[in-house]
């Protein structure tokens, strides 16, 4: 009915189709396109509205962060990683700090550990809030974006008060955190928890329960557990397919093994499962924050470290769970003050790679929904 567009097969001089004779046309979504949230370039082969192939082209925001880090000292390179996945910059910094500490054999004071975990979980909520709004916007609902930003703003205010910045905080340093918590921190976090609990049901009213939304999400973009593993997916994308991949549970770091929280798993493997994973993950983060907020131990917020850090010769690897999945930091040290080689295993890159697999055969409108549920942050993919 709709797919039989004879215009597409017309070969008149003004034919915009540019098709291959079989009715397939190629369109370029991006690098500047309202759906890609950044400079991702997708070359899409379409037959009518049906997607035949999706080819992501990367490199538009490649800043060679890995190479840059090789010329910076172990204290300095952490700030650059905020610019990779800017929505979970705390967690990126945390991964780097942990990796350096692993090399230095530094014991992080318990207060610093708790502060780090609190900040990580706040960042995770803030990141998922933005994802929620942006994904609703991809599907054509503009209002949720602003409502999500209301909650996100209050997290940003907390960050601003304690870390001095809203997005790229650079708060984690090897051995602890840069500054102690702000005296108002606990009060502000409790205010945020109160606001969040008062407003969270609106998310269901506006989007989750909406029949249009459910029809757009359920059953599309199916990713089987086998494919999730073989494509190297991690984070909510893998857990949406029922693959247990929460680094906080599997390879606990800091104090995560002492905390009570559940690894959120869904088995449906479709876009709606990935959507629900993130919403439920926010609840788990709230649970972690509630456990810790009244139990911040006294003590130092930073371990004593030397002014010039030198990692012993060797290789160090640390993985953490960012809002998007598993972030791995791999440092090769020659014993100097700067790393010999740094490699980041970013979650976005592997998660993007499944896009072609899950998008084939679905409609163009579903592509933006799938991209939304993969939660792509382009600077994280390109680095």
């Amino acid at each position: 009915m709709y797919r039989e567009t004879s215009i597409l097969n017309d070969s008149s001089p003004v034919s915009p189709a540019g098709d291959d004779g079989a009715g397939n046309i190629t369109i370029n979504v991006g690098p500047q396109h309202p759906a890609t949230h950044g400079v991702l370039h997708l070359v899409i082969t379409l037959n009518g509205e049906t997607i035949k192939k999706v080819e992501p082209h990367l490199g538009y925001i490649h800043r060679s962060i890995e190479k840059m880090c090789e010329s910076l000292t172990y204290r300095q390179f952490i700030y650059v990683t905020s610019r990779m996945d800017y929505l979970s910059s705390h967690i990126n910094n945390h991964a780097c700090a942990l990796c350096v500490e692993k090399g230095l054999q530094v014991e992080v004071p318990p207060r610093a550990q708790v502060i780090r975990v609190l900040m990580d979980e706040l960042t995770r909520i803030a990141s998922h809030e933005l994802w929620w709004g942006a994904m609703a916007m991809d599907l054509g609902a503009f209002t949720p974006f602003f409502h999500a930003f209301r909650e996100r703003e209050s997290i940003n205010d907390i960050m601003e008060e304690t870390c001095g910045a809203r997005l790229t905080m650079n708060y984690m340093v090897p051995g602890g955190v840069m500054q102690d918590l702000h005296p108002d921190f606990q009060k502000r976090v409790k205010e945020f928890l109160h606001l969040y609990k008062r407003k969270i049901h609106e998310y269901d009213e506006l989007i989750t329960g909406n029949i249009i939304f459910q029809n757009r999400m359920k059953g599309i973009g199916y990713l089987s557990p086998e494919d999730a593993i073989s494509y190297g997916c991690s984070g909510p994308v893998a857990r949406g397919s029922g693959v247990s991949s929460d680094i906080r549970k599997i390879y606990p770091y800091e104090i995560y093994n002492k905390l009570e929280f559940d690894e959120v798993l869904e088995t449906a493997g479709d876009s709606f499962a990935r959507y629900m994973i993130r919403l439920r993950e926010m609840q788990q983060s709230i649970r972690i924050i509630e456990q810790l907020i009244d139990n911040i131990p006294d003590g130092d917020f930073q371990a004593k470290t030397k002014a010039v850090l030198k990692l012993p010769k060797g290789e160090f690897y640390q993985r953490v769970e960012t809002a998007r999945g598993e972030l791995g930091v791999y440092i090769v040290s020659e014993g100097g003050t700067t790393p010999y080689r740094i490699k980041f295993r970013s979650p976005g890159f592997s998660n993007l790679s499944v896009l072609d697999h899950i998008a084939r055969g679905s409609k163009l409108g579903d592509l933006v929904a799938m991209m939304g549920t993969l939660d792509l942050v382009i600077p994280d993919i390109d680095r």
Binding site: L72, R75, Q76, F77, Y79, V80, T143, R150, E153, D157, E160, E161, T162, C163, G164, A165, T168, N170, V173, M178, Q179, H182, E202, E205, L206, I207, G209, N210, I211, I212, Q214, A307
Partner: protein, 158 residues
């Protein structure tokens, strides 16, 4: 039965839509929920967080003295080469030549507000200011000299 299932489906769908509409109507009628701030209008009452990292400044006391010894720790700590310390030779009261800072050049356009220089400073000579309106018409205006002209190092700071 098919018809009952069909009607139930329609009912459930319509209900979910009405729930969303009720929520947006609530916000349409409750203007006290509006959270936006009118930025340039509220400049006078706007209070930035005390730790907000806006730009690096060097505080001076009323005698035009600063605490910078010129140890270059900030220059070394900076990942972007934002800070350059320029020296001059000064005569101490005893008539000896002493190295002191002439200028502490700060490139705001290169700065990422990472706070590493402030952390590295052993004598607390520099700190972060809460300004954030950094737009200028010429980028050379962003290259700043942090110490005031004719300023000296505070007594007792080594």
């Amino acid at each position: 039965m098919f018809i009952i299932k069909y009607i139930k489906e329609v009912y459930r769908g319509v209900k979910s839509l009405l729930v969303g509409m009720k929520r947006t109507l609530y916000y349409f009628t409750h203007h006290k929920e509006i959270i936006t701030q009118q930025y340039p209008d509220n400049r006078d009452t706007l209070v930035m967080a005390e730790r907000f990292k806006g730009e690096v400044v060097m505080p001076h006391n009323e005698k035009n003295e600063h605490r910078c010894t010129g140890c270059q720790a900030c220059e070394l700590a900076c990942p972007n080469g934002t800070i350059k310390v320029v020296f001059k030779n000064e005569l101490t009261p005893e008539g000896k030549k002493k190295k002191a800072i002439d200028k502490l050049v700060y490139h705001l356009e290169l700065c990422t507000m990472c706070n590493l220089c402030v952390e590295a400073c052993p004598s607390d000579a520099i700190k972060m200011a809460q300004t954030f309106e950094h737009s200028v018409f010429d980028r050379s205006e962003l290259t700043k000299i942090l110490n005031n002209p004719g300023s000296k190092i505070m007594d007792g700071v080594e």
